[in-house]
Symmetry: C2
Subunit: 430 residues, 2 copies
């Protein structure tokens, strides 16, 4: 790490000053205001955000981010999977970069902090490094991953999984949203919006990855910690289930003759729910998407398609539960035909102890309270973990509420997260 | 009834010849081909029809009907509720007309016969009367009622209920479809399409109403009858239920903290289904529409809205079951809030014996086999019944399948229905 010696600093206390000087430039108000500005792109009447991946709102938000990056003279780049990068060049351009970031897309009724906090905290960190006059040895790159949420195009974490080589570009291009628009068409729109931003290759070497995020749970707030040092991410399996029945007239068809896909789906979901009903309330079982066809009041439904989101911190429990899904669907489908497709199967993971120790020490140096915490939600860090030393920094969110328009966080916690992030990045880039 | 004496007929056998001469002009092939032509407007890839009320396809189909009416020199008219009329003028223009018809709108995945058969059989009857050179005493009017199905705008039978005064025009104008388009906007589109067709008043006097329709059930086919003389229509109550919960993150929110609207809806629907589970399989209970919000895989659903279609031939059973809906919803909503709105409550009805006898006799005179049958489905005749002598003629449909793209009927049964219809209309108009 090379920088000008701060005025008035002797070489003796140089190291301590260096450790804190970037964090000193974190500006809580600027960070907050950037969140409020970004929340305009996809703003919902109820105060939330609907900014789904590759949408017009997503592109607008990316334009704003590129503008802020340009003011800081960061180097913009994209890749073929729709990920966006802003690089602060280091002294050794050939060395693998340190990355930080998260995602800018939201749920259909999402909040102002999920994902975008990690992007804007990363930008704040780069701005603070610039302001401190520091040029790190390794380049530090801010990344905004494409489609973390998976609400428009399933599954989520698409950009990071393709970047890291966990899935291929080809495998995502033909996936379509509910209106029949493909990821490929969406990517072409983004490409057309940013013709001058160079395309960098997928699967570039990365030295380390640190992602800041709101907790999306109640623990940090209720335990009064400003920072969570994330120990790992609980495992998650996702499925798509369809039940095929037969349309019939609601007034004339007898119950015994019906192949009612909705009634079959109810039986199936209740059987799955019973399977996942553990006394300790650790299993997370959610049917979030549920579509009925033809969806007309006087027609017996012929088709139901629904999603399963199944999570558990213990990979063996997760595997056992997930492995029973297909059989339970078949057994409870009655006269209908059940088809189960597994969309993703991610086991629980632990971030390396060295990364967790570094983040804790950086927090302690700044007297910012921190605790270890398991991430119940999935994050792009899951896909960076196999290719480089990765970790995450959580900040509290109000009431643990997330994936909800009422999602909130406070400016002081947000700034603390950025302070821990910037010093962690500088240590990793040294 | 006045017409030229058929060549070669003595006045002695005049009455018998008269009774059959219109039926002789019913053309099975023309009737079939008109069905196939109409099925082009809203044709679905699976061979069905999606021609919902006041849609562009509905307007196209009405244009075709007006064209056919014009060839027969029928007098076209509309009313403010979007109903379409084609009048064959009688000898006494001031006498209340005899009406026949049905609807041209379909379910989203409907068939080629539901509704449109009654309209085209009516047109065939008028064409046969013209061909026979008969001028009846009363005018005979063909009607195509607006929005019988109620799939785009709920509830159904809108046009006939407003025409007959069972509901007011004002009460339907602000009803919106799922895209937010109102009935009023739809009616304005229809009005713009037919500026030269005069508007006749609502609630005009009608002498009698006869509606031909496919059975939409399996009885006529399995009993090998060509015609069903409809004794009455079973009662129906419809409801809209909403369950309000709270969005939460699928990976982080604990089951005990969730207000999962989907899980609440499953409990509610199962409780209602159990209530309606009679040993004799007479109660018809259907949840045909079921909408989930925000409908994203990793978000706990915050809102479910679903429809209830409840029918029973015994009005006291229907009232008793329907009266339990609201309480059962509240009792089974768990942590969510249930709101129940009743959309319609129609008791079972019986058509007048005189009309049923007339239809039976007309069929017997023509040696067309017929049986009495209860209509399990609702029809526009329900709303004409309170204002004039009304009845219905059913023909078989293949396998009893309806509200399904596979719906089918055969040309010979269709022609038999039109033969019985035309002679019934002539008797009523005499």
């Amino acid at each position: 790490m090379a920088q000008a010696r701060p005025a008035g600093a002797s070489w003796a206390n140089y190291e301590n000053i260096m450790k804190l000087q970037a964090a000193h430039f974190i500006d809580a108000q600027r960070l907050w205001e950037r969140h409020m500005h970004m929340a305009k792109y996809g703003a919902t009447p109820a105060g939330g955000v609907d900014r789904q991946a590759l949408s017009a709102e997503d592109i607008q938000a990316q334009k704003v981010l590129l503008g802020w990056g340009s003011e800081l003279e960061l180097v913009p780049a994209r890749d073929a999977a729709g990920n966006l990068f802003l690089r602060l060049p280091g002294l050794e351009p050939g060395a693998a970069p340190v990355m930080t970031g998260s995602h800018m897309d939201s749920q259909p009724t999402g909040g102002k902090f999920d994902g975008i906090y990690g992007v804007l905290a990363g930008l704040e960190a780069l701005q603070a490094i610039r302001a401190a006059g520091i040029v790190p040895r390794r380049s530090i790159e801010l990344v905004a991953w494409m489609n973390e949420e998976g609400s428009r195009f399933a599954p989520g974490m698409m950009g990071s999984s393709v970047f890291s080589g966990s899935s291929t570009l080809d495998s995502i291009l033909s996936i379509k949203d509910s209106r029949g628009i493909s990821v490929q068409e969406g990517l072409e729109k983004v490409q057309a919006a940013f013709p001058l931003v160079p395309l960098w290759p997928l699967q570039r070497p990365v030295h380390a990855y640190v992602e800041a995020h709101i907790e999306q749970g109640p623990i940090l707030e209720s335990e009064s910690y400003s920072i969570g040092v994330v120990s790992g991410i609980q495992g998650k399996r996702t499925f798509s289930v369809s039940l095929q029945g037969e349309e019939a007239h609601a007034g004339t068809s007898r119950r015994c003759d019906r192949k009612d896909a909705l009634m079959a789906a109810l039986q199936v979901v209740q059987a799955l729910s019973a399977l996942c009903n553990d006394d300790q309330d650790i299993v997370k079982f959610t049917v979030g998407r549920f579509q009925v066809k033809p969806n007309a009041p006087s027609v017996v439904p012929s088709l139901v398609e629904f999603s399963i989101d199944l999570r558990h911190p213990d990979s063996s429990v997760l595997q056992s539960l997930g492995d029973q899904v297909e059989l339970l669907c078949a057994q409870n489908a009655g006269p209908c035909k059940a088809t189960v497709r597994e969309l993703s199967n991610a086991i629980s993971l632990q971030f390396p102890q060295s990364m967790r120790t570094l983040i804790s020490e950086v927090a302690q140096t700044q007297s910012i309270s921190c605790m270890d915490i398991l991430s119940s939600a999935g994050h792009d860090a899951r896909y960076m973990h196999p290719i480089c030393a990765s970790g995450m920094i959580f900040i509290p969110c109000a009431g643990g509420i997330s994936h909800n328009e009422a999602e909130s966080a406070n400016a002081s916690d947000m700034a603390n997260g950025a302070k821990v992030l910037v010093e962690t990045l500088l240590q990793l880039a040294a």
